[in-house]
Amino acid sequence: MSQQNNTIGRRAFIRNSGLAGGGLILGFSWLNSCKPKQVTEAEVLEMPKEWFEINSYLKIGENGLATIYCPNPEFGQGVMTSMPMMVAEELDIAWDNVLVEIAPYDAEVYGRQFTGGSQGIRTRWEGLRTVGASAKQMLKEAAAKQWGVPVSEITTADGVLTHEASGNTLGYGEVASAAMAIAVPEEVTLKSPKEFKIISNSKKNVEGKKIVTGKPMFGIDYQYEGALVAMATHPPAFGLKLKSFDATKAKSMPGIVDVFEINTYADDYKRNFFDTNAFTELVVVVGKSTWEVMNAKKSLDIQWEPISDYEYTADRFGMEAKIKVPSGLESSDAHYAKMEELASQPGQVVRKDGDPEGVFKTAAKVIERSYTCPFLAHNCMEPMNFFAHVTEEGAKLAGPLQAPMLIEGAIAASLGLTSDKVDIEMTRMGGGFGRRAYAHYAVEAGLISKKVNAPVKLVYTREDDMTFGIYRPSYQATYRAALDENNNLVAFHVKAGGIPETPVFADRFPAGAVENYMAEQWEHNSNITIGAFRAPRSNFMAGVEQAFLDEVAELAGKDPIDFRLELLDRAMKNPVGENNDYEADRLAGVLELVRDKSDWGAEKPGVFRGVAAYFCHNTYAAHVLDVVKGADGTPRVENAVCAMDCGIVVNPDAASNMCEGGIVDGVGNAMFGGLTFRDGATQQTNFDKYRIIRHSEAPKNIEVHFVQNEIAPTGLGEPPFPPVMGALANALYKAEGRRLYNQPFISDKPPLVG
């Protein structure tokens, strides 16, 4: 048990005015008032006649049912299930009696409503349990008062309060009303992991039924009386901007209401770090139906002109950053040539231990290898979209976004409103992967609604979505390693950069495990916009570092797992440097677990194995992938075994699902993913050219194992993903006899001989 100071719990008792006046809630319609035909799980359970709002995360009905509000938006990680599980655990209620709704956006009450960076569970772990424990304490005190007994004599289980000595029992619903009058406890006691009944016991996705029955739940499904449809056209290439347009034809087409230009940010608006946007001047078509608007959009006659070099200042987490945007129409060929050139020049040294230069000169063996990867598009399956209704009184917006707090200011500024007049509803998202942290499309929707003076849903076509920017950058990395005559790794050098950002983590493994170590970086500006993409930077560095270490192990004549464990042993016992960002024993732990579970070392004819392990986003991951060749020689991952250490696992089956998805995504992007440019335009605009992994290319079996410990949980959205590329590269080497250095592997062809 742990004592928890209850600041979070107390903040939770600022009852949310959006929920209902006076704390008493009647009915169940407030969330769904503009979505007809919404069938909720609630209709299956017998609904309470009255709801008592215990705090802003929780209301209890007179019949004992509880509704728990999930504070963070959902895009598939299962936070709508796992976060309420944390509240329910400490509340001591039966999970079957819990309904879940997404909370309204209100940062003052709910804090950081941001799903991203694998930080959701980690940052909510104490707060949500405290909320549940506080409510339980208030219910207990209410019962104690009613029975006239000391509160310490009351126990709780499955939504029932019991006073053993007198044999009295009360359901939570029976004291919920009285509990509302109890003072919020100053301090509460949280359970120890051994006492958990809900946490660490798999619960099914609370939205599962709505999903499989096709209920409206995504932003693109948002229904609103009288809503018009809007689409926006951005320049066809990076480095271009709007010059002029002729909308005569479009305006005369059936169902079209208006065609006009919008400018996303006013000139004096100071962008924040998530206001990334190359295309701020857009031509908008508004009409009655999607098909009519799509057709009119195609008929627009628009002239574009080249941009000039420009600069703007952005607020980068409280610091001013100058962002330089070069003019020009860029191409992938030129990017790769530039990266090769920069890789051959000295970079900015970000860490140096010992004397790497000296050791490389005298070492018995030196190996150097270079790796590249292309830009990637997030390709969320639900294209970007947002609903907005802007009136004199204020703005009501709804749609898919990972962090309303990051865009609220831009919306308010663009509409000339104060933030308190902007109401943002978070809908379920059809994928996020980082893309929806950049919600420029919500600003656009607001401006469009204001201009046409009507409710509007802005929808991106797939092509709009894929070509708008905010991509995973293109990177290059060169690694060097030196071995002594006993095949010990004595020096390690990484130099990496990208367009337009560096992927280097100076203090990450094998930093700390090698006496002589150096990390260098470089960057090259671009007008192609980038953004966070599932495990930013790690999504390249993990794969190439782990592929390189495999090659070093081979050169040293050592088993790849033994070789890594040897290095980690050094990092545990006698680490080099002080800022190493990983815990060596936990990284070794997942390697050992995956070694045991995969039966590593057992030779299986026709099965080619590769291993990789990586730490990022506070979590440890290791994978063994088995590649098998099909009848036509095509390699495919037959089997994947994964070991994770993310501390306590809140919802194990859903956590496995996340890891399975991360592995499939890793195989897919390493094998097929890639966005290439010519004259500033992407050469892929839809799924006919942009290849996404499909059923017959995905691993057939995936096994996920978690290290069992009682460490506070960390995230899983990102960590399983990055090392997959390394394990795949290493397995493909075994299968093909040729190392792969350039992603996507499908186009990394052997050099032509002759």
Partner: protein
């Protein structure tokens, strides 16, 4: 504009639309049946899959004028309460992550099982290859199809 009488989920629905309108947008915009999803608009992703006389069909490339008297079934018509064996299997295996494409996956899977009640792994992969899942739930989808086949 023209008037069409469509057989959708066992009911006749009248719409007045441009004859070139894809069924996807007729369903979503005119009939408020939004379970059928837009993903690519060029028959590459499978999000918009419906049954046309029992066959899994991409509704984004199927114009309203092509449908005639054929029966269209959407996810909303498979069962309203999630009682169809494929929907049940999907919940049992807890397939979805983001869930956006699952309606399309379920429609393809249910059409497959109607024709081939006991598909092999390879047959499942072949039938489901046109349905992208960006979250990567393919192994669970296969598990769920097999579970539904056995129920």
């Amino acid at each position: 504009m023209a008037t069409f009488n469509l057989n959708i989920n066992g009911k006749v629905k009248q719409v007045d639309v441009d004859p070139a309108t894809p069924i996807l947008w007729v369903l979503r915009d005119h009939l408020q049946l939004v379970g059928t999803k837009y993903g690519c608009g060029i028959a590459q992703c499978g999000a918009c899959t419906v049954h046309l006389d029992g066959t899994a069909t991409r509704s984004c490339m199927l114009t309203v004028s092509m449908v005639g008297n054929s029966e269209i079934t959407t996810i909303e018509g498979l069962s309203e309460d999630g009682s169809h064996p494929v929907q049940k299997a999907w919940m049992e295996v807890d397939v979805p992550q983001c869930g956006y494409r699952q309606a399309g996956q379920i429609m393809t899977a249910s059409a497959l099982l109607d024709k081939n009640p006991n598909p092999s792994d390879e047959e499942i992969e072949m039938a489901m290859n046109g349905n992208i899942c960006r979250c990567g739930t393919y192994t669970r989808i296969k598990k769920a199809v097999k579970l539904a086949a056995n129920s």
